[in-house]
Every structure is written in structure tokens, then in C-alpha cells.
Symmetry: C2
Subunit: 218 residues, 2 copies
DNA sequence: AATTATTTTTAGGTTTGCCTAACTTTATTT
DNA sequence: AAATAAAGTTAGGCAAACCTAAAAATAATT
């Protein structure tokens, strides 16, 4: 089944709202899709008829399993494109949302599976949000860089942002790679550097510049 | 100024028709955008009001300079995306048109200039059609097929006219694709075949039928 | 030149998704 | 519990882009 861009945006928005607040209402949705409540009601009736939401007038609505699957697919596309824009085209992570908002509606599963492969099946988008796989399954782990990670918590490196040779050299020296377990002991306000501990290694201090490029699964 | 997907498709189609037949009429355009003549007339009035075409009812229509520029920008996007799909995602050139047809309407000049750079500013798309630059200029390099090319001159393949699967197969065997450097050593009068040389390949002979379908930038 | 055929436009209708205004239902106060 | 406020729905309209059928203009034939 194919859906209009509008329908897709409503489905996606309902999904996001359900994650944040489990009860979703018409006004919240109206605000999210930047329209008026009356338009939302109209769309709810349509989505209900297409069996994408369960809906009782004046009561509430919730995505059906089908609706959920469709939402996850749109989100998958959005996040893969964001990953592409940042890691291939060199955008900053705060510049890509609007563009991905358009790209997510491109309709070709072949395109998406190839893109996924081209990007080497990333698990997280540039904001650290998980990318659903082709079956709609999400790794339910959050991700952030060493600057934002809670202290004294052991985390696993999942991505290095800056992949320059100099950066790789530095990482080699500290024995840091994808999968490495790291604990941040202390953060120094003065220069934003962090002291880390890796198993069987002495404590080490990474500059802010380095730390912010190392992303970990929490 | 921003245009709807429909408007963009009309503009692009008028451009293509103008290249093929300099006189364009309503019915041709209707067929090209897969709609009916009445709808075309409606759109012509709208495009005229927006000064994208010169239009006199019952007479004719033609793109204005502005219209032309917009058309070239859409075509630029289409061809860059096609190049991306083939050269980065590994699609075959005969699979990418429909996807590029959607991607060409994504609205971000920043995206396109970065994509262009990422692809290293290609001059031709996978079908050998020239990609307009950001100012709408098309490389008007001299191109001709292997029959008409000067002997002993290294040229670069830029377009394959016949894109049948059988032709594709043959080209694969000889390792010929867009961008391949070729030198024609000799032409045989008898059957019009040509002997070519490609770097790191033994000499090869192509039939006249094949040679005349391979276009190169001189 | 008159008739016929074709092309183009106009007129009137449909669908999608938006809007405002009015009305219902549900929630919150008093 | 009644009154008021807020949220949700319905009704009636609008714009974009499509459609069919009929009318007008142009082109082709006799």
C-alpha cells in the first residue's frame, strides 16, 4: 500500500508522540504536523478507515501494528538519510533534519536497502537515535559522545565521528576502537577534557576535541 | 521562488520537448506528463502567470529565460542523483530513472552542491547525458562515436546510445563504461569495425554496430 | 472556399488536504 | 451538581491538480 506524504507525516508524528507521552491527543498532533485540530480529525478518520490507527471519536487513538510498522519504516528512512548527509556529505548533525524530512518520503525499498548497505548498516543516526532495521526492529540503546555520557558508567564505543588519519593514530595509541569498553572518571571544566579508564590500561586524559568525536552506547 | 512538484514536472517536460522538437504543443506535453490536454492548458496559464513560459492561447508556448534556468536546475539534480545511484549505490543505469524522478524534487541547494562535490563534479550522468553545472551551463564538449573519432587519440566514453541488456553485457566483457579511456588504433574499411586499446587490456575489435553506439568526449 | 478533422480551450466536477466557525463532548472549577 | 473551560468534531469553503464533455480555434481535405 502507498501513502501520501501527508499521511506519512501524520503516522510518523503519532509514533513520536506515543513514544514521548503514551496518551496522544488531537491538539498535540495538530501542533506537531503544523495544522489545525479540524484537519487532524479529518485525517484520523482516514487513517482509521485504512486500519493504521484505532480510533474512537472524542476518546483516543493509537497506531495499529500496521501503522507502527509503517511509522518505523519512515523513521528508518529518515535516519539513514541523516546518517548519509552527515557522514558522506559532511553536513553538521544540526543541519540535516529538514532535508531528511523530505528524503524520507522517497519511495523505493531497493534504494533504502542499498543505502543501508552503502553506509554499512549503521545502528544510530547522527543525533544518536537508533535506526530501525529493515524489519522495523530498534536497538533500544541510546548513544552519545564522551562529553555527554554519565560519569562512572561503563559504555561501549559505537562510532568515531572524525575518521582522519591523525585521529585514527591517536585512537590506536589509546587502544580505542569500535566495541571498546570505556568509563569516564572525571571531566575537567577548564578545558573540557575527560579522564577515562579502559580495562588493563592506565588512566588517560582525552582532550575535548577528541572526546566529542567518540560516540558510545549507554 | 518555490514550485510544486507538478509545476516542476511540467517545466522539465517542456524543456525536454523543446530540445527534441523546437515546436511544442499541448498534446505532446499532455502525453509526457501523463495527463490530459485540459489539465495542461490549466497549468500553462499558471506557468504563464508566473512568467516561466511565454504563452498565447491556441498559438504556442516556450520557456522564458527564468523557466529555462529552473528546468536546467531540475535536470541537474536528476542527473546528479542518477550518477550517485549508479556510481555509489551500485544500481544499473537502467534502474535509476524513476528514483531520480522523485529525488530531483528535493529542495536544498546546499544538498546539491555537496552532492556534486562528493561525486567529484561529474559532467555526464550514467546515460551519458551532460549534467548542467550550478549556473545551468552544460558542458558542450565535442562528442562523437568511435566511427568518427580521430585515430590514435585517447578519448573518454561519455554515452552509450543503445542501452539494451545485450549491449550492456558486451560492454561489461570489454570493460567499457562511462569514463573509460579509449584509443582507436585502426578502422577496417571492409566491415566498418574498429580496433581499440584500453589501458591494461589487450587490443580488441568492435563491430561497426557496436562502435557507432559508443560516444566519446574528444 | 467549404467541409471535416484535429487541437486547444472552457465549463463544470472530483479528490486531497487545508481552513474558519459553530457545535458537542469531556474536563475542570466553583 | 452546575457552570465554565477546553478539546474534539462537524459543516461548509478554498486551492491545487486532476478529470470528462462540450465549444472554439486552427489545420487539413476535398
Amino acid at each position: 500500500m502507498k501513502f501520501s506524504i501527508s499521511e506519512e507525516n501524520y503516522i510518523k508524528s503519532i509514533y513520536h508522540l506515543q513514544v514521548l507521552h503514551q496518551r496522544v491527543n488531537t491538539m498535540m498532533l495538530a501542533e506537531m504536523v503544523k495544522t489545525k485540530a479540524a484537519s487532524v480529525t479529518e485525517m484520523l478518520k482516514k487513517l482509521h478507515k485504512k486500519k493504521l490507527i484505532d480510533y474512537e471519536p472524542y476518546k483516543s487513538f493509537i497506531l495499529t501494528d500496521t501503522g507502527n510498522k509503517i511509522a518505523l519504516n519512515i523513521i528508518r528512512k529518515h535516519r539513514l538519510w541523516e546518517f548519509f548527509l552527515v557522514n558522506k556529505l559532511g553536513f553538521n548533525w544540526d543541519q540535516v533534519h529538514d532535508i531528511a524530512e523530505e528524503l524520507e518520503h522517497i519511495n523505493s525499498s531497493e534504494l533504502i536497502s542499498r543505502l543501508d548497505e552503502y553506509l554499512q548498516f549503521p545502528s544510530f543516526d547522527p543525533h544518536g537515535d537508533p535506526i530501525p532495521n529493515s524489519k522495523g526492529k530498534i536497538t533500544d540503546l541510546k548513544r552519545s559522545n564522551l562529553i555527554d555520557i554519565p560519569l562512572k558508567k561503563t559504555v561501549v564505543v559505537s562510532q568515531i565521528k572524525d575518521q582522519s588519519i591523525t585521529m585514527l593514530d591517536l585512537l590506536k595509541h589509546f587502544k580505542i576502537g569500535i566495541g571498546t569498553k570505556i568509563k569516564v572518571n572525571k571531566r575537567f571544566e577548564f578545558d573540557g577534557s575527560v579522564e577515562i579508564k579502559i580495562d588493563q590500561m592506565p588512566n588517560a586524559v582525552l582532550s575535548n576535541q577528541v572526546a566529542k568525536n567518540i560516540y558510545c552506547v549507554i
